[in-house]
Subunit: 240 residues, 6 copies
Amino acid sequence: MAGEAVTRAPDELRPVEITRGFQETAEGSALIRIGSTRVLCAASFEETVPRFLRGTGGGWVTAEYSMLPRATVVRTPREVKSGRPSGRTQEIQRLIGRSLRAVTDLSALGENTITIDADVLLADGGTRCASITGCFVALYDACRAMLEAGKIERMPIREEVAAISVGIVDGVPRIDLDYELDVAASVDMNVVMTGSGRFVEVQGTAEGDPFEKSELDRLLELAEAGIKELIQAQRDALGI
Amino acid sequence: MAGEAVTRAPDELRPVEITRGFQETAEGSALIRIGSTRVLCAASFEETVPRFLRGTGGGWVTAEYSMLPRATVVRTPREVKSGRPSGRTQEIQRLIGRSLRAVTDLSALGENTITIDADVLLADGGTRCASITGCFVALYDACRAMLEAGKIERMPIREEVAAISVGIVDGVPRIDLDYELDVAASVDMNVVMTGSGRFVEVQGTAEGDPFEKSELDRLLELAEAGIKELIQAQRDALGI
Amino acid sequence: MAGEAVTRAPDELRPVEITRGFQETAEGSALIRIGSTRVLCAASFEETVPRFLRGTGGGWVTAEYSMLPRATVVRTPREVKSGRPSGRTQEIQRLIGRSLRAVTDLSALGENTITIDADVLLADGGTRCASITGCFVALYDACRAMLEAGKIERMPIREEVAAISVGIVDGVPRIDLDYELDVAASVDMNVVMTGSGRFVEVQGTAEGDPFEKSELDRLLELAEAGIKELIQAQRDALGI
Amino acid sequence: MAGEAVTRAPDELRPVEITRGFQETAEGSALIRIGSTRVLCAASFEETVPRFLRGTGGGWVTAEYSMLPRATVVRTPREVKSGRPSGRTQEIQRLIGRSLRAVTDLSALGENTITIDADVLLADGGTRCASITGCFVALYDACRAMLEAGKIERMPIREEVAAISVGIVDGVPRIDLDYELDVAASVDMNVVMTGSGRFVEVQGTAEGDPFEKSELDRLLELAEAGIKELIQAQRDALGI
Amino acid sequence: MAGEAVTRAPDELRPVEITRGFQETAEGSALIRIGSTRVLCAASFEETVPRFLRGTGGGWVTAEYSMLPRATVVRTPREVKSGRPSGRTQEIQRLIGRSLRAVTDLSALGENTITIDADVLLADGGTRCASITGCFVALYDACRAMLEAGKIERMPIREEVAAISVGIVDGVPRIDLDYELDVAASVDMNVVMTGSGRFVEVQGTAEGDPFEKSELDRLLELAEAGIKELIQAQRDALGI
Amino acid sequence: MAGEAVTRAPDELRPVEITRGFQETAEGSALIRIGSTRVLCAASFEETVPRFLRGTGGGWVTAEYSMLPRATVVRTPREVKSGRPSGRTQEIQRLIGRSLRAVTDLSALGENTITIDADVLLADGGTRCASITGCFVALYDACRAMLEAGKIERMPIREEVAAISVGIVDGVPRIDLDYELDVAASVDMNVVMTGSGRFVEVQGTAEGDPFEKSELDRLLELAEAGIKELIQAQRDALGI
């Protein structure tokens, strides 16, 4: 996990690898690696919906996110110890859920729920974006399996969705911040985008100094290019 | 709370009113009204800092957010009943805290903490943005009081910060969504900006269809104009 | 909040002001001020009853109580932080609920619940008594509104109810203790009484030395006189 | 547990029995029986004080109260199942603690705490009053043992304290309500009184109709007579 | 509680005493004493079953375990204070439940649950084993009472079950460890056995050095002999 | 995960594979596979000890255990949702900790703690035994690394420890129960044994009928043979 940032260009992604089917028990699963970051994604199909959807005929996609304690260089205590998911965890799982729902035709799911689990095995920056990108693959596979099993009648996935972090480090706009770059960034942005190049989510935060509109524009450009690559990796993994 | 949206132009803010000093027990306080939304903001000065700052000589600004149960048209159960702040509440209080810290010179605070409380008395959309705008006034007043009392040596506030919601409703980009517009919006964005016109936070979410870069640009324009008005209202209230 | 105790006679209430309708979203609401103490009271009508009343045809009145963090001179942490209402809070909300039910014909409510929220905006002693007095006004207004809306068939309120604190300070029996007097009191008593002059609740506690029957009698006399004034203020506010 | 109320006079206590030393592990302990109600009381001496007393040289007396699940005719779930003491439990343990502190010279305790445990083995009404009466014996014994052991320098107990319930049942003022009478009572009052006949606590509640001053006076008379008997039973048990 | 271990032979139980009916409110109850250890056991019959048994026609037996705070020489904080049963408590109550179910014909219970409460009044080692032995008596009595009341059609108890601790102390295998021996033991084992001499549970743990098969065999022999005595005590108490 | 039990002999282990170093962030780590069961084990070295060891010069080894939600055929809710580890989880993590401490010279650790994390990626029976076997490898590696880094002065590991499940299925004593066999077993036993062939823990439970001493003996024989194989696999993985 050392030294890799030295030679990477500001507009260059870390190596990406998506392995389908890691958790054979699940309806869909994928292990995604981006640089040293590794996230295990699983999709579970359940014949039930949250109360607010009962009787509507429509379904739901929701996500849960967690990190193994030694995903980090210093051990992170399990959240069960404090009795609840942290605010950060809840924010991330809401983001993953929203992102996946944005490309899903929920009415095609029927009154069923797909629960997505993203469990970070190793964390070196960008875990929430890697989770979105990997979970899409698990979700797609689960939908395909349910379609084949006759549990749903048509494919509910409308297009791909992927995510990448961008930021300004030492005055330079950069893509795909690893942990070390993330700590040094003065602006930190997560962008979620679809296969057709439209935005699902833009979350930019000044960690230090506030930022200008021109900087925002440059970061969005970088993100768009990176997400195109990630979506190609998803298509390759899924064979679509 | 009915019918007000009908005649408001897409680029027009609801009426804004900021009353300083509502909670006379606090070092700084303000009651902000934007349309029907009313938030009571208070700033508390405490001679302590979180553990990670001890011995650094620097201070901290943090925020807590809550709604009275009948701030809403249908009564909302108190969060103490479920034993913890919801994910939404935590997300909002982290946003308020980050926004205020972005314009504060924490080293000028010394090893002291200012805790900001934003309590929503009536909620008709835009409560997180109103909280940021009103809490800035409470924070500024508390800092002024602490400076006068000799608790700190120089003014830690560098510039103003305010926030507004924008969104796309029926295809039309609009500013300052009340509850009814917010429910109808396909894109929802919160923008936090400083007195000098730079971004602190941009959070845009597609609630329905993903959105284009051109739409994002139009929303940011609307936000910038609205925030200028809000900052003027802050200056008027504070007499600066 | 300073110095007001100096000139007030032992049998003299602080100035009382009851404003109806502060929270326009609620079925009934009132802002009560007694001296510096301010409590926002709201009544919510819900078409449900607790499990133990289902099928009985009767209704319920229950109350919740809270303080804003900066209602106090030193900031009080929110109870949601400790995950539950404190023992003191639970004791107060049970007292408010019992007091209001004592003047309500629950069978006239039908299988409906009125939830009363008392939120203390500023606390300078006597908040539980002010809550009972103000919440009665919110409850009455909600019942009147529900009667007009045809949700209930007859007025369930039988008579007024109000409350006041009394105590012994430096050997002198006094009414309506503000924070400073309360801290100094050797005996502290809360009295809840109806419009017809009967007791709903008498809670007297020796904080220091135990007390004699003659002292108890003097305190009850003071309370009775004060409660008459409070009930008049309720009638004036309600126009009854 | 049936039928005993039939022949008992309105001013007659149920049989009282106080056995010292039931829990030989504790510094002081007592098993009290009033009618069918049985409470095991234990006093634990600990060489520490709550934070707010550190450095003051004074001590503390605090109490905890619980019921075994089958103390009641229908099994009551353990409070640990809901994760916290109920509001009722907290109210009772605060009452026990206040009552015992009212007769204790806390400065004579030094910086030590006596924790009183009241565990109800069988509940047939009046458990909080029986707890106060029995816990006094455990407290006294623990103080005596600590004095003998040289842990404290003088006896901190100033006088006895005991408690009894009174109430109005079918229009008749009665003392020492068992469960059946308690359910039928329209007014319910707990009185805590010292060996010298002064009040520590008076808590009267109208469960149904509000009550008159004359009724209050009659109930206090009944309580005073009953408490004299209880204090004699304490003296007999303690040999003082 | 001192010195008793000195003269007891390694294969000798402490004195055992089982008193039926201590908690007359319960369907079955027993107070068991083994040496200084005392456990109050109660059995509650409830006409319901856990969700996973609904509609099966079969019943359930479950157990809860707790210690009074001053059952121990140093006061143990109540588990309700930490909001949940400790891991140790949960392990013990699962063991008690499993042991009792092993001798119960659950189908003979119908869709009813018997909840067993084991509350330790004094703890001097072996509380989990004493709980099993005593709870069997409470369970048997409750079943007999339910049979007589016509709530169940045939006796669900197939045979007796009892438990004892054994261990290796200073190299010597011993039975029925009191607190002092338990602390000194290098191997600690709990054995649960039926009236017909078969094992329900064997739980042996090396606290210090691992142990040999020959030691395990000797401990099991000791346990078997002791359990025969305990089962005789159960039969004597129950008159069977 | 289907059909593998068909041809496996009663005394035959499933295929075992131990991969060291899976989580490169940890001081020691291993991925263990036994049949379809996969557990990720990590050891974290921390320069602190629990309060009860401070100042003793000795160290501690503790363990935490969890399952990913889709480790199971039907998704298992995360324990953080219920706010605490289940009783089963606590029992398992205490067992893992005890087993590892039994072969560790804690005084050789100095005042340091090694925390072991066992996270089940796929669960097909025997996860607690696989965790013990795999965690030993992670622990050993962490100790070796700490010795090389000069954090400790001598190797604290005295010998190997491993664990296996045995049970009686359809009357046949068998080793290494997978999920399907485990569900069918009438007796279920976990055995923890050291490299020198001594017992650390024996936990046998009758799920259905109680069992005889001869059956217990046969199960222990099976376990001993299996554990020898597991210890060889550990030695191969560790190169010792």
